[in-house]
Amino acid sequence: MATSATGMVYIRVIEDVISKVRDEFVNNGPGESVLNELQGIWEMKMIQAGVIIDRTSAPKQPAPGGPITPVHDLNVPYEGTEEYETPTAEILFPPTPLQTPIQTPLPGSTPLPGSTPLPGSTPLPGTADNSTYNIPTGSSDYPTPASDSGGNTEAKSGNGRPSSYMPPPPSPWMNPRPPLSVDVNVAYVEGRDEADRGTSHQPLTQDFFTMSAGKRKREDFPAQYHNGGYNIPQQDGAGDAMSEIFELEVSEFPGRQDSVTTANREIFANLASSSVKIPQLDGPIPDPYDDVLSTPNASTPAVVTQNDAAEDDDDEPLNENDDDELDDVDQGEELNTQHLVLAQFDKVTRTKSRWKCALKDGIMHINNKDILFNKATGEFDF
């Protein structure tokens, strides 16, 4: 408080110091401005410490509750874009054509572009029904069951010659995109209808899967479907490799020995191997002491000794707690933030265990308060 005696003394000390060093600053030093800056910062720190209150400013510090960064109002429901308004549409019609073959197990019936003959014939009637599902299933990789009504020819041509059709995969997708949006609504509705008779229509992949199953039944694909009762797995987004693996399984069982199937079998093997063993390489735990050693083999004893040192370092933190109790005294002495009395002594005497001391001109900082004294007497029992 500025009105307190201590505060007044401090202010006087500051002024005295500044006035005494002003000559030094002006004549040989940086000048008056720097001196004023020094005084300003010094007083500001004193105010922050709470030992004095600036005379000019009445309140100590303004409440910091003023500037409140505007927070985005989360109460307002998130207004997503049109894309997100119909998440189903988003899933149905993924932006990238590459995703479609993953999400649509429909091509499982005809997973290989090479296996065009069978799907080439049978899906024709299916395509009529699939025209609405062209988008999700009409991936360029699996063109047979999924194709636009307008893109059927393209799909079929792609079936026959996937190599020539493959290069521009996004083309069939990009073009029919605008109508896709329209088809989305239709497809989604029909998906619901067919899902009712089938399984639940939660993920669209499942819908199409049941659809495809239904289609295959109609298309007389019992061979594939009854083979070992292998359930074509549901394909989620991340199951790229596994989906392909299973698709290849299904394709293999009908007994097709096309070159493409064999090639895919190899791919399957590779995929299986790659999926089974994901090499994880963990380097050796970096030992800081090994940095000095170029060849661990050459300097094994050094490694041992340094490891011991390292172990000691590891043990030291564990053993630190043992010394905490003993070090309280030292730590207490070193802590200057604790209550502190700085003074000059005139006399210190001791009688047995009774100590007496006469102090003068001291500054006390106890209980977060600054107290000045001219004289002090102490009586301590040791």
């Binding site: 030094e24 200057n336 502190l340 000059q344 100590w355 106890i366 007497t377 040791f382």
Partner: protein, 106 residues
């Protein structure tokens, strides 16, 4: 004339030291000038304590540690009681550092 650098450890002394450190790091002040300011602070503080302060304080407590080195007494008290005309304070632990007053007058 030698000064007690003792009071630089007080609140006002620490504030001044921090301020000077900042200005020296900024390059606003030269280290020599900063030291001159601190020396002047020592003198002014000592003089102010001698002339402007008139209070008396009594201290009582259990002496936990005592040390006398380089003409400096250091006491660590436990459960100390500070009494003066205006106030009375108790602290669990306090450190007292006292320099020999005779050194200044020599």
């Amino acid at each position: 004339m030698a000064t007690f650098e003792l009071y630089r450890r007080s609140t006002i002394g620490m504030c001044l030291t921090e301020t000077l450190d900042e200005m020296v790091q900024n390059g606003t002040l030269t280290p020599e000038l900063a030291i001159q300011v601190l020396v002047q602070f020592d003198k002014s503080m000592t003089e102010a304590l001698e002339t402007q302060v008139k209070s008396k304080v009594s201290i009582k407590g259990h002496l936990h540690t005592y040390r006398f080195c380089d003409n400096v007494w250091t006491f660590i008290l436990q459960d100390a009681l500070f009494k003066s005309e205006e106030l009375q304070e108790t602290v669990g632990r306090v450190k007292i550092v006292a320099c020999d007053s005779k050194l200044l007058s020599q």
